[in-house]
């Protein structure tokens, strides 16, 4: 613990790797591990706003957090919320246990592309299949950031990573299509460059009874941007360039209908894809069956 950072309580620590102190918490010297230009700070800020605006009961909305760069989002989340850090990829399974043990709760799962579509893919599929009442915030930065920029299941074709020979030739995974196929009942995709829409989707997801999946495209400057170039051949090593790249590669789903398959290949289709309120939710259905069983 370095005590010297308490000296300037209202300033952000200069170095991103400054150690956390309790003094920092007390003096509002909020710190963040995130690199400059990272999207997770924006997501945390917007989530906090939604959490407070909607007056969510922190005791009934546990935040189940997977493993990735975004695990460091912890100190930026609402101060009275309950945060459970899980193992890599297992957040959906732990949320299932929490929800069934206490059906009054609505877990909010923070997960990443490697966490949710890579190692925890199976848990994610079956969470969507059961339509368990919870929110999945899937942060997609197209790279494994915390381990140092290795190729993720979502790294687009033609881009570089630390563990790719040349350019990626594997086809990337589409989290939205997977969630739709698996049976999630609220599915949307948005980028951090559209903060108001992101907040709107978050509110809808929290009110939705059933599995809500929001894939949030977010920039990784340090590992995705630094290794890759944009259309103009410029290295994407700043937040602004990557946000522009995200916007240039985004297309809204109503416009996407007019585009052909090859044109959509390197695009992220944004918007709401499904809002199905008729499908019964697992925990409620189980509670109904359980009550019958208890009466008999």
């Amino acid at each position: 613990m370095t005590p010297d950072i308490i000296t300037f309580p209202n300033e952000k620590p200069e170095h991103p790797f400054t150690l956390q102190t309790m003094g920092g918490f007390m003096t509002n010297n909020f710190w963040s591990y995130f690199c400059g230009g990272c999207g997770y700070g924006i997501i945390a800020h917007l989530f906090d706003k939604v959490f407070l605006e909607q007056k969510l009961d922190p005791l009934l909305h546990p935040l189940v957090i997977g493993i990735g760069c975004y695990t460091q989002i912890l100190p930026l989340l609402p101060v009275d919320s309950q945060r459970v850090c899980t193992l890599h990829g297992r957040a959906p399974a732990i949320a299932t246990g929490i929800k069934l043990a206490n059906p009054a709760m609505k877990p909010i799962i923070f997960t990443g592309d490697g966490d949710c579509l890579g190692i925890g893919g199976n848990h994610f599929i079956h969470l969507c299949r059961r339509n368990l009442d919870c929110v999945v915030l899937l942060f997609n930065n197209s790279i494994y950031g915390m381990t140092g920029g290795q190729a993720a299941p979502t790294t687009p074709q033609g881009y570089s990573s630390m563990t790719t020979l040349g350019k990626v030739f594997e086809r990337p995974m589409d989290g939205v299509k997977l969630a739709l196929a698996a049976g999630a009942t609220y599915v949307a995709r948005i980028t951090v460059a559209h903060p108001r829409t992101l907040m709107k989707y978050m509110k809808r997801a929290i009110k939705h009874a059933g599995t809500s999946v929001i894939e949030i495209m977010t920039p990784c400057v340090t590992y995705f941007g630094r290794k890759n170039v944009n259309q103009e051949g410029k290295r994407m090593d700043s937040g602004g360039i990557l946000i522009d790249w995200l916007k240039a590669h985004s297309v809204w789903n109503n416009q996407a209908k007019l585009l052909s398959e090859p044109e959509l290949n390197d695009k992220f289709v944004l918007g709401e894809f499904k809002d199905d309120r008729a499908t019964p939710e697992y925990a409620a259905e189980y509670e109904r069956v359980k009550q019958q069983s208890m009466r008999s």
């Binding site: 150690l19 732990i94 246990g97 079956h126 069956v289 208890m294 008999s296």
Partner: protein, 394 residues
């Protein structure tokens, strides 16, 4: 929290014939189970098949997950949310669960794993018993941590020790195993069920953190003895701000490298300092015994008869039975073997726990392993080894 419907939770008092796996499931219900997540695996399938209807009746929740990884994680999640949770599996399933069991030990979240052991390695002969998970249950996960493991030898014990396993998990806040096997799981035997009130008195309920009584909220008392405060429950105001499987202090704040040793040694000390309280053993005719059989699980049951046969043949044999495998009672084994001249370890494997006995026994006495794979010993096989040991002694 699941409301307990206590009328249906306990079986009516009396004697009834039950299959081992079902006795274990009923023992879990009596022990306060209110969440079960599992994935079908031979030979443990009767446990979920029985609990699917019995558990909702008692107010609990049952779910069949997509794999063993998900099962144990759901169990962990439910236990974090305050439910007494359990899963049932076999060796390959336990291997998949290792990661989360290690995490549960680190988070000090109580849960029970029923390991109905089957032959291995790999797929093995799936319907054959083989006590080959006795080391896996303790050493499979990453990191150093302690677990509690029970090794029942009859359907009656499967019922009773499962209740006890739930109590131990709640008291010591660590992963707790019941090491059954394919024979024991499918054995049909009479089980004596005590009166519901008597059973209920034995059950340790989930404790909640109470900040009004801070003396309950310490890790060490004034004398320096290890205290185990109750586990935090999600959805109660006392849940820590951060709930990490990183080493953390009583305030839940992650520690840096220099502070890691304290919470880590606490994880080990809370079990190793309480071995006398946790470890359960049974002795049979060991007072004047020269040859001591050390056994657990079904081979222990055979060994009772072997001791009688050996005594008839004029050999002073005795049985020291391990009811709990982990933590291993080194001190007790040392005491028992102090006067012994030979030790015989019949096991349904090639001699795994014999290695632990080797660590506790005197160097000058011989140890005879009696391995038996995928089936149970005949009493004569163990007796032959005892006779051989007696000849060597003479």
């Amino acid at each position: 929290m699941c409301m307990a419907n206590d009328n249906k939770r306990f079986l009516p008092m009396g004697k009834q014939v039950m299959m081992g796996n079902i006795a274990m499931a009923e023992g879990a219900l009596a022990g306060g189970l209110n969440f079960f997540a599992g994935y079908p695996i031979t030979p443990s399938t009767e446990v979920p098949e029985h609990l699917v209807s019995r558990l909702p009746e008692c107010g609990g929740a049952f779910i069949q997950m997509e794999d063993e990884l998900a099962s144990i994680n759901a169990v962990l999640g439910a236990s974090i949310a305050g439910a007494k949770a359990m899963t049932a599996t076999s060796g390959p399933g336990t291997a998949l669960m290792a990661e989360t069991i290690s995490m549960g030990a680190s988070l000090e979240i109580p849960f029970v794993i029923c390991d109905v052991q089957r032959n291995g390695p790999g797929t093995g002969l799936v319907t054959a018993p083989h006590h080959n998970d006795v080391f896996q249950c303790k050493y499979s996960g990453n990191g150093e941590y302690e677990v509690i493991a029970y090794a029942p030898m009859s359907c009656q014990e499967l019922y009773d020790l499962t209740i006890e396993a739930f109590n131990a998990a709640e008291t010591y806040r660590c992963p707790t195993y019941i090491m059954s096997d394919a024979y024991l799981g499918h054995l049909h035997e009479p089980v004596v069920i005590a009166a519901a009130d008597d059973v209920q008195q034995r059950v340790v309920d989930r404790q909640f953190l109470d900040h009004a009584n801070p003396e309950k909220f310490t890790f060490k008392d004034n004398q320096g003895n290890i205290m185990i405060p109750p586990a935090p429950v999600l959805g109660t105001p006392n849940f820590p701000t951060y709930f990490f499987s990183q080493p953390h202090g009583s305030d839940g704040i992650p520690m840096n490298e220099n502070q890691v040793i304290k919470p880590l040694s606490y994880l080990l000390d809370k079990i190793t300092n309480n071995v006398e309280k946790i470890a359960r053993t049974q002795s049979y005719m060991i007072d004047d015994a020269e040859i001591i059989i050390i056994a657990y699980g079904l081979p222990a049951r055979v060994s009772y008869r072997v001791v009688n046969m050996a005594r008839q043949a004029g050999i002073k044999a005795g049985l020291f039975r391990l009811v709990t495998l982990w933590p291993f009672p080194y001190e007790q084994v040392k005491q028992v073997l102090a006067e012994a001249k030979a030790v015989v370890v019949p096991e349904m494997n090639f001699g795994l726990m014999a290695g632990e006995v080797e660590r506790a026994k005197r160097l000058d006495i011989p140890l005879y392993k009696v391995p038996k794979i995928a089936e149970l010993h005949e009493p004569g096989e163990i007796l032959a080894v005892i006779k051989k040991a007696a000849e060597v002694m003479a």
